[in-house]
Amino acid sequence: MAKYYQPEIETASQEQIRAWQNERLVEQVKHVWNDVPYYRKKMEEKGVTPDDIKSVDDLYKLPFLTKDDLREAYPYGLMGKPASECVRIQSTSGTTGKRVVAFYTQHDVDLWEDCCARAIVAVGGTKDDVCHVAYGYGLFTGGAGLHGGSHKVGCLTLPMSSGNTDRQLQFMTDLGSTIICCTPSYAAYLAESIYEKGIRDQIKLKAGIFGAEAWSEEMRRDIEEKLGIRAYDIYGLTEISGPGVSFECEAQMGMHINEDHFIAEIIDPDTGEVLPEGEKGELVFTCITKEAFPLIRYRTRDICVLSRKPCPCGRTHVKMSKPMGRSDDMLIIRGVNVFPSQIETVLIEQGYPANYQIIVDRVNNSDTFEVMVEMSPENFSDSLKKITEMEKSLVGALKAMLGIAAKVKLVAPKTIARSEGKAVRVIDKRKI
C-alpha cells in the first residue's frame, strides 16, 4: 500500500524543500509585482521591490495581506490572472464584505487537489477505497477539495454533500464507504445516528478526514470509538486554496503543511514580528505556486505553533498544531465563520440596540448559537403577534447575513452583562 501520494515531495529533505521555496518565492513575487497592482502598491509603500527578495530569508520584508485587504480588493483586486484564464471560484459563507471569493486556474485546481490527495493517502486511502464526501458541495471548498483529491487517489467517490442523514447512512451501508470526509460535528452526529439505528456492524468505515471547524481530542476519541475508525484533522482556508493546506498523518500529532506550495510563518499578532520555531503566534501563509489568487503573507488570524521535529510517518514537511484560538474576534460556529460585527449590523438595520451577546456552546457534539438581543422601544408594542413577527424577521436577517441559524433571545434593556464597563459580546462555552 502506497504510504504517500507524492513520496519524492512529501519526504524530500529539508534542504530540498527550502530550495523549492526559495526558487518559487522569487518567481511568485515577480508574478504579483507584475500582475497584481494592489499588492505591488503595498510593496511600493513599504519600499520593497522583487530585487529585494532573493530567498525565504527575505520574506519578512514583504507586506502582509489581511481580510481587510480582501474586502478592499473585492472581487477582482487580488487576482493574478485574467478571468479568462480562470476556471473556478470558491467562496466562504457570509455577505459582501465578509465573504471571500477566491479564483483558480486549472493549474491551481490541480495542485489543490494534489494536496487533498496527499491527505487521503495519509489516512490510508487507495484506489480500492470508497470515499464518502459529506462536506457541502458548491461554493464551499470542503466538498470540491476532497472530491478532487479522492478522484486523484482513484477512490470510488461518493459526492454526498451535507445533510439528509438517512440517505448518507443508506449509501454508506449499501456502497460500503470506507473513508468519510465531513465536519467533525457532522461525523459525531452520524456516529450517534448509526449507534441509535444499531447499524454499526453494517458500516465499513476505517478512517475519517474532518475539518472546517475546531474539535477537541476528546471529540476525536468519541468519534473514533463510536464509528470504530481513526479520525484525522485537515486544515485549510478558502483564501489559501481550501482544505489540504495541511493535513494529519498516521501519527495524529499535528498537521503537515504542504510546504512545496505554502510557506508558513508564525508572527506576533500585535507587532507583526516573525517568531522563532516552536513559539505560539499567528499563522501566516504565502502561496508560492498559486496563479490566480496568489496571496503573499496572508494573516490567517489562527493562533498555533509550528514544529520541525521528525515525524514517525516519514514526511518531512513542517507540522502545525491545531489552531488554539484566534487573534481577531471571528468565531467558527458549525463550520461557518461568524464575526460579531455582522450581528451588530443586522441588529442596527432591524432597529435593535447594538448591545447584544453571543452565547456559543457545544451540546451533543453540535454547536448551539444564541444571540441575546435587547428589546427596543421602536420594536416593542402591546401586540405579542407584532413582536413575534419582528423577532422572526430578525432571525431571518441573521440567517441571511451569517449563513447559519441563530436562536434569538429577546431580553430587557441593560440586562446584558458588562465587565469593567465593557460589554462582553461573546461567551464561548465550548471546551475545545
Partner: protein, 143 residues
Amino acid sequence: MNIYQISVFLENRAGQLSEITKLLADNGINLRAISIAETSDYGVLRMIADDAERASSILLEQGNIISMTPVSVVAVPDRPAGLSEVLSIIAEAGIDIEYMYSLFTHADDKAYMVFRVDGEEKLSSAIKAHDMEMATKEEIGLK
C-alpha cells in the same frame, strides 16, 4: 377622553412582574386591570393604571420598555349573556378583537371589559347604537 393602556416588556425572569407592581404600588399608583400575554421566552404585561401618565414615566425612569395604546372599555351589563351580547355587537360591526381582558372595578349592574380593536370609534358607535355604554374614565376611577 381616551383610555390608555400601558404595555411593558417582560423577560421570562422570576420576580420581574412583582418588581413592576411593587414599583407602581410604592408610588401610589392603583392598577385597574392587568393581563399578560407570553411566549416561552418573553411576554407583554398590559395594564390600566389610575394615572397612566405618571405610571408610564415611573416605568420609563426604571428603564422598562413600554408602549401606550388607546383601548376601548365597555360597560358590560351584569346579567346572564351580557358579555355574549357585547361580543355579537362587535362581531356584527365587523370589528376584529386583538385581545380583551376585564377590569377589577365593578359597579352594581355592570362589569367592565377592556378591548383592543382596530377601529375604536366604530366600536363605540356600535355599542351606543345598541343602547349599551362605553365606560367613562370617572366611573372606573381613572385620572
